[in-house]
C-alpha cells in the first residue's frame, strides 16, 4: 500500500534522487561502533541533534499551556506540570534535555578537538559549531527565565548585571535585552520568550543545516 503511494508520487515527481542524495551513503567503517567499539565517540554529534529535536518538540507542546506574562507564567507552568496529563514528563523532557544537550555538545566538541577533525578543510564547520554552541547557551539562558520563579528571576538579574558591565555599551545593551532600563519584569519576560521560542530556534536550525551540509560535502574525517 505505502509502496504504491510512493510509486505513484515518484512517477510524477521523481523524488528518489532527492532523498538518495541526502541519505544514501555508506557509513565508513572507522566510525561504525559495530566494527570498532571505540567509534562510539562519533555518536555524540548525532546525539546532540537528537536532543535538539526533543527540545524543539517538547518546547512546542509546552507553549500550548505556557503564558509569557508575569502574573500568569508561574501558574501556567505549575498547572501544566501538575494538572495536565504527562505534564511532568513533557516539562521534564524539556528541563533535563536542556542540560543533556549541553553535555552532548561538549563531548562532541571534545571528540572533534582531540581527533583534530577541525583541521583543513573543515575549519568552517568548526566555526559554525562554535556559533551553534553560543546559540545553545542563549537558549538555555532565555528559557531559564520562563518559569518566572525566584530562581529564574534572580538568575536573570545577575545575567543582566553581567551584560551591563560591558564597556561603553553596557547600559544600552542591558535595556535592549531586558526591555527596560531598571525593571526586570513584564517586558523582560516577553522578550526572553520571543527570543527563546522564535529567534534562537530559527537561527539554530539554519546553523545546523549548514553544519550538516558541510559534513555531507566533505565527509567525516578519516581515521587517526
Amino acid at each position: 500500500m505505502l509502496n504504491k503511494v510512493y510509486d505513484w508520487i515518484d512517477e510524477r515527481l521523481d523524488i528518489t534522487p532527492l532523498w538518495r542524495d541526502i541519505a544514501d551513503h555508506e557509513v565508513p567503517e572507522h566510525v561504525n561502533p559495530a566494527h570498532h567499539f571505540s567509534a562510539f565517540v562519533y555518536c555524540f554529534g548525532g546525539l546532540t541533534f537528537f536532543v535538539v529535536v526533543i527540545q524543539i518538540l517538547s518546547g512546542m507542546f509546552l507553549t500550548m499551556y505556557y503564558v509569557p506574562d508575569i502574573e500568569r507564567a508561574w501558574e501556567s507552568v505549575y498547572y501544566l506540570q501538575n494538572q495536565v496529563a504527562f505534564g511532568q514528563i513533557v516539562r521534564g523532557m524539556h528541563h533535563w534535555g536542556a542540560s543533556i544537550v549541553i553535555v552532548m555538545m561538549f563531548l562532541h566538541t571534545l571528540r572533534v578537538f582531540f581527533q583534530g577533525a577541525y583541521k583543513k578543510p573543515r575549519e568552517l564547520n568548526w566555526i559554525v559549531g562554535v556559533l551553534i554552541f553560543f546559540v545553545m547557551l542563549g537558549l538555555g539562558l532565555t528559557g531559564y527565565l520562563l518559569p518566572w520563579d525566584m530562581k529564574a528571576l534572580f538568575a536573570t538579574k545577575v545575567t543582566l548585571d553581567i551584560v551591563q558591565s560591558t564597556p561603553l555599551i553596557g547600559d544600552v545593551l542591558k535595556t535592549l535585552i531586558a526591555g527596560d532600563e531598571y525593571i526586570t519584569g513584564a517586558q523582560t519576560l516577553t522578550r526572553f520568550f520571543a527570543i527563546h521560542v522564535f529567534f534562537l530556534p530559527a537561527v539554530l536550525l539554519g546553523l545546523i543545516g549548514a553544519h550538516f551540509l558541510m559534513i555531507r560535502k566533505q565527509g567525516i574525517s578519516g581515521p587517526l
Binding site: E71, F154, V158, G179, D180, E181, I183, G185, Q187
Partner: protein, 170 residues
C-alpha cells in the same frame, strides 16, 4: 558618444533590480528593527523624588532601614513597588541613603548583620561586607561600593529618588 563607458542593458537591469530589491528589503526590515530597539530609545522616565515616612529629625548617625513605595509602570503592567534604603547622617551632618542591594549578586545587605563585623553592612549570601559609607571591604566578593539614592528634605520629610545610582570606583 563620449568616451564615458556606456551602461549596458544587463548592468542597468542589475542596478535597478538591486535598488528596488534593497528598497523593499529595507522597508520590510526597518520597522521591525525600530520596533525591537524601542526600549533603548524611549525618553528616560526622569526621577521624581518619593516621600518616605521618615522625618529629618528622626535621622541619626546610626543607619536605619527606610521602606518607601511608588507606582511603577512596566510597559503595560502597573504595580506598586517598595524600595528600601539605609539612611543616616555622616560626621559632617550630610544625609547618606544607601541601596541595600549587594554589588556582588544582588542579595540584601544588613547593617550590623553579623556580630563578628560590627559597624559594617553584611551580606549573608557570600559574606560580602561594606563600611558605613558603603565602600566595599577589600577581599570580600562585592565589585564596588553600594549604590546611593538622591535625596531631598521637603517640609522636614526625607524624599528619595526611585533608583539608586552607582558611585563608581572599586
Amino acid at each position: 558618444m563620449s568616451d564615458k563607458q556606456r551602461v549596458t542593458r544587463r548592468q542597468f537591469l542589475t542596478y535597478t533590480l538591486m535598488g528596488v530589491g534593497g528598497f523593499m528589503a529595507a522597508g520590510t526590515v526597518m520597522p521591525m528593527l525600530r520596533f525591537a530597539v524601542d526600549p533603548a530609545l524611549q525618553a528616560k522616565a526622569g526621577g521624581d523624588l518619593i516621600a518616605t515616612g521618615l522625618k529629618e529629625s528622626e535621622i541619626t548617625n546610626e543607619p536605619q532601614r527606610v521602606d518607601f513605595k511608588f507606582d511603577q509602570q512596566d510597559g503595560w503592567y502597573e504595580s506598586q513597588v517598595t524600595q528600601s534604603a539605609w539612611v543616616y547622617k555622616d560626621n559632617n551632618g550630610d544625609i547618606i541613603a544607601l541601596s541595600p542591594i549587594c554589588k556582588h549578586l544582588g542579595c540584601t545587605v544588613n547593617w550590623n548583620g553579623n556580630e563578628e563585623f560590627p559597624n559594617q553592612f553584611y551580606c549573608p549570601c557570600h559574606f560580602g561586607r561594606y563600611e558605613k559609607d558603603g565602600t566595599n571591604v577589600k577581599g570580600t566578593p562585592p565589585r564596588g561600593p553600594l549604590d546611593r539614592y538622591d535625596y531631598e528634605i521637603k517640609d522636614g520629610v526625607l524624599y528619595l529618588s526611585m533608583r539608586a545610582k552607582p558611585r563608581g570606583g572599586a
